[in-house]
């Protein structure tokens, strides 16, 4: 239940850090050059970080049974730029599938503690995704590989260098050397790879979740691999063909924001976009859709084709259409979806140039091509959709598949195989038997964060540096370049791909920073000139890719459309990257493991998702264990009956059932075992049988319906426009009360949550956890309903269980003015502050839990055990020093990030002014991609009323459980559903 069950790792870890800072890596000092973080370009930061690294080590020396070896520098002399207690933020960026998301990282005395989005970065716009938020925890993961190992034996870097390079000595050419990377967009790495290829080495890329289908799709449609970049702000009608635009993909944060901007209805005059989603597995996007159509993954192609047919009919005849008329005319979509398709098509046609169609990673190239053609046909290209050359290197080429590498392996043409990141032994399609076939390579080395499945099938394991530990560069989906800046020296001597590649290039091994700097010097003098600025902002100005003009080519597509789609009635298996552990990369991240999935609310594992109808047909109930068999492989998995799931389609999330050192990742079942190269995203012919036992699942919400209680309110846009005054009457009127005492402080803090733009993606939950040192209770704890999240996302289904309306509602302490929790506390441990906060005084709490009983929102959390007692040293480093770590036996709950409020107050006092609008941003608010959360003071010091006070008096605003008279300070805005009259029932 705790994050580290392994003893004794601490010792080695800190020894290697000593080596890293001391004798082992003489270049350490040069990794942190002048003025990367400040215009005046002094040498300070480098010294600081050096000291910091050391201080970290010192701090932890205490925790070791043996004093660290090597030279250490005590944190005795305070570096001028560091004020203890005052956090600094540094820009960097994290890549996923090769695409970068810009971040700002908060650092306390050299300890990165919190990840925020970089407002200047196109992929972030100031927000973060789940994985970025939680990635900070992986940095301090005690399960990380503890050094360099050859077949499990600790070895030195020199030994590694000599062994690896003897086969291919500089100058002698690198025939037979193969390099397998995750898709990357790093220009500098690309440059090095180019040099490798020049020497005869071969480069391969593999990631279980990739844009391959999208690239192939644009190749079908336009003759070359391109990345579509959407502009949702300008789209009135959005159609997602199994595309989870709002919660996955390189631009998820940007799209979520743009989508929200399109429906931030503040008055009846404001416009609102309309979202259609077709998907097998209920996704965040599907839940936010105004109209959602359930369909097996297989059938979506037919629906896409039908959409094109229905729209193209009315489009002024483009030449390319005639070529497709034939195949399109024989519609393969099921009869019952036709009305839906027609309605959507009409809606699209009504919004030519102001609509967009997106296809998902899980769909075939044909669907992507159809989506592209739909956008062309509707005249959206150049309006809401633009195409750019993929930022990822060699996009769309055969280098992005494993087959060539495996062929060479079988032919014994591979001298050495160097795997840089990823975890192919675990993630490669089962039928490729990756682990077995790489054994024919003479030497195999793996650069990875953990001693995982791949490490076990390779000879060498080299610890991979976390992105916060090493220099690099990366591009966003639209090509914008950002610099990956480290905030801390490698804790356990981790190496970056650059470090390893250089060994083969033959140049004297330079620190990754020098390599990076040198590369950009010759590549782009302008960037070099404004280097420090680029590093500081985290984005290189004006580096976005040129927008490509596209010309439709249909020959291939027509052929592909012709061949009939298999129409077996067998069960379908759908595999997806998990919303939390992704493809398994984050398996050992306790924050993500314990985070309830946005839709299933499941934690600590995965399950076979089944629709209620299918469950009834196969007489399955939740938690039944079933044997899933597909193409000769079978797997035992518990069942989870999921409303809104497509019938006859079984979904399994990837990334669970790990077998490596990542102990937390061992939960759940390994969906890769059923994933073959024939069906990377979905496959037909799944066999399912009950084995007659059950397995308890750890879900945080057991009841789906609101029982018609006034909790998560929704209204039809039409009704809203008709309505007079407030949607919920009487809630803004002053009410009679015996409890006259009201807070009188200068600021009166309050929050507004707009359910119309909240997608329920749950980033805020992780952000809150990171900011407020919220502990993990583990699988058993969640089963007992003891999860500690201060902020949770309630997910309610209404209507038909098979096809429900999904409402997500963030629920945290409402900071009631007449708080029921307060008057029942016998010791005054929870009281009201003058600025309207419902304060929780941990030191005073004796733990009667009366407050929780009397809290109608049940947002209070209790420390049933000492959840922090066996945190190891590195795990403690992630703690936010501004927030108390709670003791056993005390209550805790959302504090409106009081530490941030007080900090702002102090700054205001020092500056002799008042806190400006937006002067306090809560962690949840800051992370929220769709900006659904607005926080501020009801009282205003400026001319015009504060944002939050305006929203509180908005006609859509209401209180949850208003009739209790708790007068909550957190108020919600009713969700609107922009229904298509044709489909409205």
């Amino acid at each position: 239940m705790h994050m580290d069950r392994r003893a004794g790792v601490g010792m080695d870890r800190w020894r290697s850090l000593a080596e890293a800072t001391g004798k082992f890596d003489p270049d350490a000092s040069r990794e942190f050059p002048a003025g990367v973080d400040q215009p005046d370009g002094s040498l300070r930061r480098r010294d600081v970080l050096k000291l910091l690294g050391a201080s970290v080590m010192l701090a932890n020396a205490a925790g070791c049974s043996r004093a660290p070896r090597g030279k250490i520098v005590p944190y005795a002399v305070q570096p001028p730029e560091v004020t203890p207690g005052v956090a600094k933020h540094y820009a960097t960026s994290m890549t996923l599938g090769g695409y970068a998301t810009g971040l700002l990282v908060e650092s306390h005395e050299g300890r990165p503690t919190k990840i925020e989005g970089n407002p200047d970065h196109p992929a972030s716009l100031g927000a973060t995704g789940l994985l970025e938020q939680a990635s900070i925890l992986s940095l301090y993961d005690p399960a990380r590989a503890q050094g360099i190992f050859q077949r499990g034996q600790p070895k030195s870097w020199r030994k590694l260098v000599s062994t690896l390079t003897q086969g291919a000595r500089p100058g002698r050419g690198l025939e037979g050397s193969h390099f397998l990377l995750e898709p990357t967009s790093s220009p500098s790495v690309g440059h090095l790879l180019g040099q490798l290829q020049g020497l005869g080495a071969r480069i391969h890329y593999y990631a279980p979740v990739s844009q391959n289908a999208a690239w192939a799709g644009t190749r079908l449609a336009f003759g070359r691999a391109l990345d579509p970049v959407f502009d949702l702000r300008r789209a009135d009608v959005i159609v997602c063909l199994d595309a989870d635009l709002l919660a996955s993909g390189p631009f998820r944060c940007r799209y979520a924001r743009q989508f929200a901007d399109g429906r931030r209805v503040r008055s009846k005059a404001d416009p609102m976009n309309r979202l259609y989603a077709v998907e097998p597995v209920l996704s965040v996007t599907g839940a936010s859709a105004d109209h959602r159509l359930r369909a097996k993954a297989r059938d979506i192609r037919a629906i896409a084709a039908a959409l094109l047919r229905e729209t193209s009919g009315n489009v002024t005849d483009a030449p390319w259409l005639s070529a497709l008329r034939g195949p399109l005319s024989k519609g393969q979509e099921a009869g019952e979806v036709r009305p839906w398709v027609r309605a959507v098509a009409r809606d699209l046609l009504a919004h030519r140039g102001r609509s967009l169609v997106a296809a998902g990673e899980g769909q075939s190239d044909v669907v992507h091509a159809l989506a592209a053609l739909l956008n062309v046909a509707l005249g959206n290209v150049g309006e809401t959709v633009s195409y750019v050359v993929p930022a990822v290197l060699d996009a769309g080429s055969s280098a992005h598949t494993l087959e060539p590498l495996l062929a060479d392996l079988d032919a014994h043409r591979v001298q050495s195989l160097v795997i840089l990141g990823g975890n192919p032994s675990y993630t490669a399609p089962r039928d490729l038997e990756f682990s077995r076939r790489i054994q024919t390579a003479k030497a195999t080395a793996y650069l990875g964060m953990y001693a995982n499945e791949t490490a076990r099938s390779c000879e060498w394991l080299v610890p991979l540096a976390h992105y916060l530990e090493s220099w690099g560069d990366a591009r966003a989906l639209d090509g914008t370049l950002s610099i990956v800046q480290p905030l801390i020296e490698p804790l356990i001597g981790g190496k970056s791909p650059t470090d390893l590649i250089q060994l083969f290039v033959g140049a004297s091994a330079l620190p990754s920073y020098d390599v990076l700097r040198a590369y950009w010097k010759d590549r782009d003098p302008d960037l070099d000139a404004q280097w420090s600025q680029a590093v500081q902002r985290g984005v290189a100005a004006a580096t976005a890719s040129r927008i490509e003009n596209v010309a439709v080519t249909t020959a291939e597509l027509a052929k592909r459309l012709g061949d009939a789609v298999s129409s077996s009635d067998s069960l379908e298996l759908v595999v997806r990257a998990d919303s939390k552990v992704y493809d398994g990369t984050f398996s050992n991240n306790a924050w993500l493991q314990e985070l309830p999935d946005a839709m299933t609310k499941m934690t600590w594992g995965n399950a076979a998702l089944v629709s209620p109808t299918t469950a009834a047909r196969l007489s399955l109930t939740a938690e039944d264990v079933v044997r899933l068999s597909l193409r000769g492989e079978s797997l035992l998995a518990p069942v989870f009956v999921m409303p809104g799931h497509a019938d006859d389609s079984i979904a399994l999330m990837l990334g669970y059932g790990r077998e490596g050192d990542e102990e937390l990742g061992h939960v759940g079942v390994n969906a890769y075992r059923l994933r073959t190269s024939r069906g990377l995203a979905f496959d037909e012919g799944l066999q399912l049988e009950k084995v007659g036992r059950t397995e308890p699942l750890a879900t945080t919400q057991e009841h789906w319906s609101t029982e018609n209680r006034p909790v998560a309110l929704t209204a039809k846009l039409a009704d809203y426009e008709k309505a007079r005054g407030d949607l919920v009457s009487g809630q803004n009127a002053p009410r009679q009360t015996l409890y006259q005492l009201t807070p009188k402080g200068l600021n009166q803090w309050a929050m507004s949550i707009d359910l119309n733009v909240c997608t329920g993606c749950s980033v805020c939950v992780v952000a809150c956890q990171a900011e407020n040192n919220i502990p993990i209770v583990g699988e058993e704890g969640v089963r007992k309903n003891r999860e500690m999240h201060w902020l949770r996302i309630d997910r309610y289904f209404s209507g038909d269980e098979r096809d429900p309306v999904v409402d997500a509602e963030p629920m945290a302490c409402q900071h009631c003015e007449k708080a029921p929790c307060e008057y029942v506390c016998p010791v005054g441990a929870t009281v009201h502050s003058p600025d309207g906060l419902n304060e929780m005084v941990y030191n005073r709490c004796v733990g009667t839990r009366f407050c929780s009983n009397n809290c109608p929102y049940k947002v209070r959390r209790f420390n049933w055990f000492d959840y922090n007692e066996d945190k190891t040293e590195p795990q403690k480093m992630v703690m936010n020093p501004d927030v108390t770590v709670r003791a056993r036996g005390v209550m805790e709950k959302c504090s409106y990030c009081v530490q941030r409020i007080r900090e702002a107050e102090i700054h205001a006092r020092v500056a002799g002014g008042t806190i400006p609008e937006g002067g306090v941003v809560t962690a949840c608010q800051q992370a929220c991609p769709s900006k659904a959360i607005v926080f501020g003071s009801l009282t205003t010091h400026a001319a015009e009323a504060s944002e939050v006070s305006k929203l509180h008096s908005n006609e859509r605003t209401y209180n949850v459980l208003d009739e209790l008279g708790t007068a909550p300070r957190t108020r919600y805005m009713i969700r609107l559903r922009n229904l298509n009259p044709e489909l409205a029932t």
Binding site: L741, T742, H832
Partner: protein
């Protein structure tokens, strides 16, 4: 007069005999009398001129004192010492202070009504001259004892002894006046 000087004592077999004896001795003009019984014999009280106990008045006073101080304490804590905004409730939340006020009143009263009777009986006092009397241990079983103070002006030890014998005393004891 819990510690009167014992003069003559006599033990009877029943409450009735005892009562008769007390009445008789009073006819003889003896006034400084006392009786010891295994359980309260109410009829004795008028004969021995025992006034109704004043304990209830004291208890009432203590009860009121306890209650008042409890209420004042609560008021002081909530309004004066450390006023806090608790769920918007007024600082002086009178009704919520009642239960403790009442209970404390009862507590004080109870303590008083426990302590007083013992103190008035001169207890705890493990040794007392009366225990010196042979056979006095029957007082808690089935002995009904009468005692005449040695300093009663009307006391004629011999005559009294004879009288008591006549009244059917199980035993009569002459207590030496000088002792105690």
């Amino acid at each position: 007069m819990p510690d009167m000087k014992l003069g003559v004592m006599a033990e009877f077999r029943s409450a009735e005999e005892l009562l008769r004896a007390v009445a008789r001795l009073r006819e003889l003009g003896l006034r400084k009398l006392d009786a010891y019984t295994p359980y309260p014999v109410r009829e004795l009280e008028p004969l021995l001129e025992i006034k109704r106990s004043f304990i209830p008045k004291v208890v009432l006073a203590m009860a009121l004192f306890g209650a008042t101080s409890a209420y004042i304490l609560q008021w002081w804590c909530a309004v004066v010492a450390y006023p806090l905004n608790v769920g918007g409730r007024p600082y002086h939340s009178g009704p919520s202070f009642i239960p403790i006020t009442f209970e404390t009143g009862v507590l004080f009263a109870a303590l008083t009504s426990f302590v007083l009777p013992l103190v008035l009986a001169g207890l705890p006092r493990l040794h007392h001259p009366v225990f010196e009397i042979d056979g006095f241990e029957s007082v808690s079983i089935d002995g009904y004892w009468i005692a005449v103070a040695s300093d009663d002006p009307e006391l004629d030890r011999l005559r009294t002894e004879v009288e008591l014998q006549g009244l059917g005393a199980r035993r009569v004891v002459q207590v030496e006046g000088k002792r105690k």
